[in-house]
Subunit: 301 residues, 2 copies
């Protein structure tokens, strides 16, 4: 049994992962700000891990995902934009001192989700893929030759922060906030009939309207797919990857995002890159990060 921990900017999850069965038990979820607030991230982790180890003596390893920059040797948190007080925290050493004898590994959260897809998802046999998560932010992670690739210093694969167009990053445009702002602007200028309402504009409502044939809703996802495609041209040209998986909340609208995305890639990439390129929906949903954190303790298959 592996204790998996997925620290997010908004919520943090704990769970016991049975690697063989790919099941999560003893699941706990916290509001990160509340949980970390009073005593800081290190105290919070020590307290909850201590609790888990006491109740579950069969835990044989701990994997943690963090939403931010880590040292290349994966011992120290460099910077977590949404969690104050954790910068330059040598978290691996601190936890290892507190819990000697238990193997502990840490990784960036998007990399955990990527590892989860590879070690425990439907893409175990795929040797290289880029996972792109479309949610509050736009995250990404890469598997090459069956291994996580994280760039020269360990903090690459930030697809959400490349420029698409000359003014804004991909995330600024198709992260949830940017996407909803765009939807709002389009809706307020829209003169035809639509099921969308400005007081109920969220990803789910837009998706449901698209399913019911609403042309404005469909065109919003087409816009999202087009911008994502332009960003992915950079990823494919630099990384020569043959499979792209879309995860995160907005990937629920995969069928409406895919056509615009595909069109851009086909018009911008020559045969060599496009012929073997597969674009698929990720398989693990919200548990990807937790499963991948556990996957840090598993050997590559």
């Amino acid at each position: 049994m592996i204790l998996a921990i997925d620290i997010g900017g908004t919520s943090s999850k704990f769970g016991l992962v049975d690697a063989a069965a790919r099941e999560i038990s003893a699941y706990e979820k916290f509001d990160t700000r509340e949980a970390v607030g009073a005593h800081g991230l290190e105290s919070f982790l020590k307290e909850r891990i201590g609790h888990f180890l006491e109740k579950h003596p069969d835990i044989r390893g701990i994997g943690l995902g963090f939403p931010g920059l880590l040292s290349k040797d994966r011992r120290t948190i460099l910077e977590l934009p949404n969690i104050p007080g954790a910068d330059q925290l040598p978290i691996l050493d601190r936890l290892s001192e507190q819990f000697p004898g238990v193997p502990i590994k840490i990784e960036n959260d998007a990399n955990c989700a990527t590892l989860g897809e590879h070690r425990m998802g439907a893409y175990r046999d795929v040797n290289d893929f880029l996972l792109v998560t479309l949610g509050t932010g736009v995250g990404s992670g890469l598997i090459i030759d069956g291994q996580l690739f994280t760039g020269a210093r360990g903090n690459g694969l930030e697809l959400g922060h490349i420029l698409v167009g000359r003014e804004k990053t991909l995330e600024e445009q198709i992260g949830l906030q940017g996407f909803l702002s765009y939807a709002e602007a389009r809706l307020s200028n829209y003169s035809q009939t639509t099921r969308l309402r400005s007081d109920r504009l969220n990803g789910k409502a837009i998706y449901e309207a698209a399913v019911q044939g609403d042309p404005l809703a469909a065109s919003l996802f087409d816009y999202l797919g087009t911008l994502l495609g332009e960003g992915l041209v950079a990823a494919v040209r630099l990384l020569d990857v043959t499979c792209i998986l879309l995860g995160g909340g907005l990937s629920g609208a995969f069928e409406f995002i895919y056509p615009g995305l595909k069109k851009v890639l086909e018009s911008r990439l020559p045969g060599y890159y496009i012929e073997d390129l597969r674009i698929k929906k990720a398989s693990l949903g919200n548990d990807a990060g937790l499963l991948g954190a556990a996957g840090l303790l598993l050997p590559a298959s």
Copy 2:
């Protein structure tokens, strides 16, 4: 002594490289189209290599750079856009059959130039860097942990082909042809005094005008640096590289390209990425590709 061969779309070079002295001797240069034209790339290579081996029995390895896509196992040419008839050519096997007992290695030409900078240039001690060549095209290659990184299938690092802005690739805009078209358009609309003349518009003339304080000339390189910087944001975010080397003909104007480039990177990249980022001029000039082809036969330092 290593026989180094740099096959380019325009010209092809041969030379004997003394790895210890980093010197090139018995240099030969051919017009690629003429040389390859009649009998094809394979025959041309066999004929010239045979000649070199006969005259220089101390050759202990052969390294070749090709301007295009290679198989991941580096045995087969997949596609050379500017050299007809070489697609799907199993060049390594063909040459090894002809010249048994001589170690032979092949690599993409931009990767050869990158390897040249790392194994034989001034950047031998730099553990990770991105080389960007600004010439007829915009090429790039990457060293990570002292090794060439070429992406999942071996043909990544095509920085020139990522989109900058939503319409055009980086190379379409700041490759030599795109850059000179832009210069021509700016010149034809320029109402102030300038040293630039539309009938003598080339990289050297623009550089010389910039050196003499011509504001239009300087602003053209600033434009080039700005677009390059926008493309490099993607490279830095995806690859987390800490050093960027500029090579190729237009990098002669480094001092005029650098300010615009630096400004974009500083405004677009947060502290972690920008604080340790060095931007330097490449050290090897036109010989980088030939030296790097020889470097294919040398162990990593």
